[in-house]
């Protein structure tokens, strides 16, 4: 808790200075939530990003999160979307980048600590509903991918806005419960768009998780993602397949709709269906998790948002079949 106070004090100290610099933004978000999965959680995020000299931009994010599970008889991934629940402040991202636009082309380089650029990976995508659950394919226990995967390295983008290749090379620098072993890590992503439809294909080859029985092997993950948005309706989907812990493969997908039509006022609705299939490493049996979610984010004020999600799950007895998550997020931003 002391670390959180220090974090918020740091934002307070920075705020008056950055208020004079239009090109630098400071953001802080505090969230508290409850779930019928017998979970309560609190988290804080602080971000500082903007422009430096010579076209170089920077981005930094630190986070603190704590979570309590009052019922040890079952498992849950409630409030598992965007935070490492380590009860201490951690640097999530810290990088500098430069983007070039040579004659309509697109080129960029990023260096530092950043989220693994696989599929739909930006914080603004999966933290869109702030505090609620990540898709099963981005849930680190059974899936080969996690929202908590981070890289220490460099990321290159080459192409045109309509079609470009992104390649990242570095070393795993994960936070949270599932971390990868040390070694070289490579991600390649091809992305294109036509009108409001954006499609991507990603491939990652990375050292196995610390949980893997095979310490020397490598995890390979392939993914396809699609999204389309118009008139306040965003449709998204991801499919991916890989080996989560160096053992037999896991394959999963999700499709969701985020809806914010003019007549909905402060309400943004979400509907998601998803499924993850994997083979249990020890028993050798095929297992699955399937989930349907209906939820909403309601802007109570410019700074305050309420999140509500109702879920139905099948496939794993360790998870309760139904859950209701409720969270409130307070955000402050300067300028």
């Amino acid at each position: 808790m002391r670390a959180l106070v220090l974090l918020m004090c740091a934002i307070g100290l920075v705020q008056p200075r950055i208020a004079r610099a239009q090109s630098v933004v400071a953001e802080a978000a505090l969230t508290g939530g409850l779930s019928t999965d017998e979970v309560s959680a609190a988290a804080a995020q602080a971000r500082l990003f903007g422009d430096l000299k010579n076209g170089i931009r920077f981005f930094g994010e630190a986070a603190w999160a704590g979570r309590s599970l009052s019922d040890d008889d079952h498992d849950t991934d409630s409030f598992n979307a965007a935070y490492p629940y380590t009860n201490r402040v951690q640097i999530i991202e810290a990088y500098g980048e430069r983007v070039f636009r040579p004659q309509g082309g697109l080129a960029g380089i990023r260096a530092g600590r950043f989220r693994t650029p696989f599929g739909i990976y930006n914080a603004s995508d999966h933290a869109y509903f702030g505090f609620l659950r990540a898709p099963l394919v981005r849930y680190d226990e059974y899936s080969p991918l996690s929202n908590s995967l981070l890289e220490h390295g460099a990321d290159l983008v080459v192409g045109v806005p309509q079609l470009h290749v992104e390649a990242a090379l570095g070393a795993p620098a994960d936070v949270g419960e599932m971390t990868r072993r040390s070694g070289l890590d490579a991600v390649v992503r091809l992305q294109g768009y036509y009108g409001a439809l954006i499609a991507g294909v990603s491939y990652m080859q990375t050292p196995n998780s610390q949980l893997a029985l095979d310490s020397s092997g490598r995890t390979r993950v392939t993914g396809v993602d699609l999204r389309w948005m118009h008139a306040g309706v965003q449709l998204r989907g991801e499919w991916m397949s890989g080996r989560p812990t160096g053992e037999p493969s896991a394959t999963g997908w999700y499709a969701d709709a985020l809806i914010h039509r003019p007549r909905m006022g402060p309400v943004t609705a979400v509907v998601r269906i998803e499924r993850l299939d994997w083979t249990d490493a020890h028993a050798g049996e095929k297992e699955f998790l399937s989930r349907q979610t209906v939820g909403a984010r309601i802007r109570l004020t410019n700074a305050l948002a309420l999140h509500v999600n109702a879920l139905h799950e099948t496939g794993d007895d360790e998870y309760l079949p139904r859950a209701l998550d409720v969270a409130v997020t307070w955000t402050v931003r300067t300028p």
């Binding site: 931009r57 983007v99 603004s124 768009y193 409001a196 954006i198 999204r227 306040g232």
Partner: protein
């Protein structure tokens, strides 16, 4: 010398035009990002087609830059995505209604603002992003800086009806200004 009914009463075209300097305040504080414009129904019409003026409302660092944009009727506004994430720019309330769909980093969309009025601009992915595009039917307009100061360039001598608007204000200010008055001070209570 022209002398016509309406708001432009004693404009003297052909005489040397001068810059109008002024300041906008809201109570005791400078009114930043306020817009001041002069009615000018007899001003030369804006260029159209390919010659139509173009200005940029940038998307960068999860913000629209500038926060307030003022343009003349008939202006094309470019909305480039120079950020690190996707954006979906739209406006559905007053003024020009449009939805540019989602587009990635490096892409650019364009909107022609062909009617006067205020458009509130948002991003459907990032609810904290907001901006205003105020479209005026006059070539004489300006946006205030951080100190509330503004300059309207090359205003022909004459008497004008002025309007002033700022984000969050309940009402638009209106008044009279003559080039013989010198500077213009607009004040919200």
């Amino acid at each position: 010398m022209l002398s016509r009914p309406g708001s432009l009463e004693r404009a003297v075209f052909g005489q040397s035009a001068g810059d109008l300097h002024g300041i906008a305040r809201a109570g005791d504080s400078p009114a930043r990002d306020a817009v001041v414009w002069l009615e000018a129904p007899y001003a030369r019409p804006p260029a159209t087609g390919a010659a139509a003026p173009r200005v940029v409302l940038d998307q960068r660092n999860l913000s629209f830059i500038p926060h307030v944009l003022v343009v003349r009727v008939g202006t094309k506004v470019d909305f480039p995505n120079n950020d690190r994430v996707f954006h979906n720019v739209f406006s559905f309330r007053d003024g020009k209604r449009f939805d540019l769909g989602m587009y990635p980093v490096g892409a650019r969309r364009q909107v022609m603002f062909d009617q006067p009025g205020l458009s509130r601009i948002f991003c459907n992915i990032h609810p904290n992003m907001a901006a205003y595009v105020l479209v005026v039917d006059s070539p004489y307009f300006a946006r205030t800086d951080e100190s509330g100061a503004f300059t309207i360039a090359a205003v022909p001598a004459g008497t004008y009806t002025y309007h002033a608007w700022r984000p969050g204000a309940a009402a638009e200010l209106t008044g009279r200004w003559s080039s013989t008055d010198g500077g213009l001070q607009v004040e919200w209570p």
